[in-house]
Subunit: 375 residues, 2 copies
């Protein structure tokens, strides 16, 4: 074995047909975590329950000395401390964020990476300064095309040593709906370390890879950004040598709060016969969710659920509920969201090599116990 | 398939020799999470980074209406709201907590349960009322032997439907060193939902299973407690039909903060040639840590590390550090703690059917890159 970066950092691969989850995948699952689905009861997710994915290490950040530099194709370079950012008029937005790789571990074949099942989601209230305000203050040059964001987390991925870095097209970066934020608070408190302390980007409607954490540099670029996380990772590809399409906005999805109580090991749910309220959340980064349907017979039939109002929170999930009369036996519960542009969730597995943008409907196996069974 | 609790809830098992991590184990790993090891840089762990293990679901808790009842073999039954508990003199203790199953996923054969590697640990400052104060107020009867703690999380485990419930011997429950707490704050803020909001038990020096979360009932018992989590789970057994010994206090362990930077997928660390500071934390629930040794050659030779003072925090981990001169090539780093009673960490795998109390020394593979290799 050599001792060069390329020797320690393998190419992307697919798991063999009968390959269990590897210790490498488990090491990622032990560091990162999803939203325990019962925590969907909270409209705004408490910070420690919101899903977390960190590519490399959580960097150490000293808020007092942190600087955010905005430069590149601008007329005036900005360098701002966190206190200076807090002096701008603050904007607070409720945003549902989902990892682009959510659902990956359920795919066949399974792309070997962070092995999410369905739980890589959360909703927070982010407070910060609109990026468009900072870009206007710096004065974007005519030839600008992309805005590149650099975080402080450092590592190697498929042989490429890098700081985590992503870009947005200029029109998205200075858009008003959604409004991209440079955020310094989550649910009204300073960002926790794992959510980007002291500064992160928030791009409502986009998958998590766009919301660069530990943000310290914004560079306006006159050429399209071609970095690893943009051109190599986070592309929709069927084959390894496809150029692929970029991963951008969140596809519609609904998730159920699993009813009843769980078996510790299998997570199978038990309910008792009678009326059971089924509830959950639904979201789409493409267009507002307009409907949620529920199935209690493993997708054979569907009934509409009652959908909460959006309450002005266009970029956050919406609650939904319906009632179900449970009868003894085995059941599989599912929910399916549809958005205003007619997008819905597939019943058969979509697939791409990265395991991105997967919004296959969730299946929640439930055992309705015999009436006399009390353990 | 039947639809009784016993049909949906399997017995404990060991993984087959070449069985990868199962989707069931992954579902636990996606809900629960460890401490990202770089977060050992914080002497007190931020709440969202502290390890979390929830047996069943995180229950919904309304702090305003929550009651803690203390009854059983006492002269006076107590029923206390959270505000009433806050009116007692508050005690704040810094405590390192570790899951009894930490290290389980590295065992051969692997007990199938929550698949921890080495990261199921964290240190917090817990504020609450000493349990001995509440027991004294209630007046413990002469025939009392155990104190039983019931949490609000409800589920089924190996066929047994239950609220999570554990006991302590009376002398431990009313001990002064360590002092068991009924805690309502973590790091100075209300308990987060996943850490037992609004009340939990804190038993300094004991593995996590003793620190009952969502605590609502304390029953003083005149007979030894024989519940599932005491008599069936959390026992040290070689064979399934052994009676086994109970899991109690935390065995000594040291962990390294992995130096350098990681490969995203393998988590292998890269460092560059030259001086590298190695640092980490060490703890024991049995007796104070008196020494930490470090190996940079996969356990062939060991050198003492410099150990921080305990600073009056007897039940919290201690920091340690040493310097290493990295040379190009592959290295395996390890650290090993010893406590005042002479206990240390094994270099060969200890094993029991539950995968409990495992304190095998950690191995951190590191590649020291060639000087000219910059990715």
């Amino acid at each position: 074995m050599g001792h060069r970066l390329e020797d320690m950092s393998a190419s992307a691969r697919l798991a063999d047909p009968d390959e269990g989850i590897s210790v490498q995948e488990l090491a990622l699952a032990a560091r990162n975590h999803g939203l325990p689905l019962e925590a969907m009861r909270y409209e705004v997710t408490p910070p420690g329950l919101h899903y977390v994915l960190t590519h490399y290490d959580i960097p150490y950040a000293d808020e007092a000395s942190w600087r955010l530099v905005l430069d590149g194709r601008v007329r005036r370079r900005l360098s701002l401390g966190v206190d200076e950012l807090k002096a701008y008029p603050a904007v607070r937005q409720r945003v549902t964020m989902e990892c682009a790789g959510n659902g990956r571990a359920l795919l066949t074949p399974r792309p070997v990476s962070q092995p999410w099942l369905v739980e890589a989601v959360g909703t927070a209230e982010w407070t910060g300064v609109p990026l468009r305000v900072l870009l206007a203050e710096a004065g974007v040059e005519e030839d600008a095309v992309d805005v590149v964001f650099t975080g402080a987390d450092h590592g190697v991925e498929r042989g490429v040593e890098q700081d985590y870095r992503r870009a947005l097209p200029l029109d998205v970066a200075r858009g008003e709906e959604p409004e991209v934020l440079v955020a310094y608070a989550m649910n009204g408190a300073p960002l926790p370390p794992q959510h980007g302390h002291p500064l992160r980007l928030v791009v409502p409607g986009w998958y998590g890879m766009a919301h660069v954490k530990w943000l310290h540099d914004i560079t306006v670029s006159g050429t399209p950004f071609n970095g690893f996380q943009q051109a190599v990772a986070y592309r929709l590809r069927q084959d390894a040598d496809d150029e692929g399409e970029p991963v951008t906005r969140i596809a519609p999805r609904a998730l159920l709060i699993p009813p009843g109580f769980p078996d510790f090991m299998s997570r199978t749910r038990a309910v008792r016969p009678g009326a059971v309220t089924l509830e959950g959340r639904a979201w789409s980064g493409r267009a507002p969710v307009t409907g949620v349907e529920v199935s209690t017979d493993d997708g054979r039939s569907w009934s509409p659920a009652e959908l909460d109002g959006a309450d002005g929170h266009r970029w956050a999930w919406r609650g939904w509920r319906c009632s179900w009369t449970a009868t003894p036996g085995h059941h599989v519960l599912s929910a399916r969201a549809t958005d205003a542009e007619g997008r819905s969730q597939p019943l058969d597995q979509p697939w791409n090599r990265g395991g991105f943008e997967n919004n296959l409907v969730q299946r929640v196996p439930v055992v309705c116990l015999d009436p006399e069974d009390h353990g």
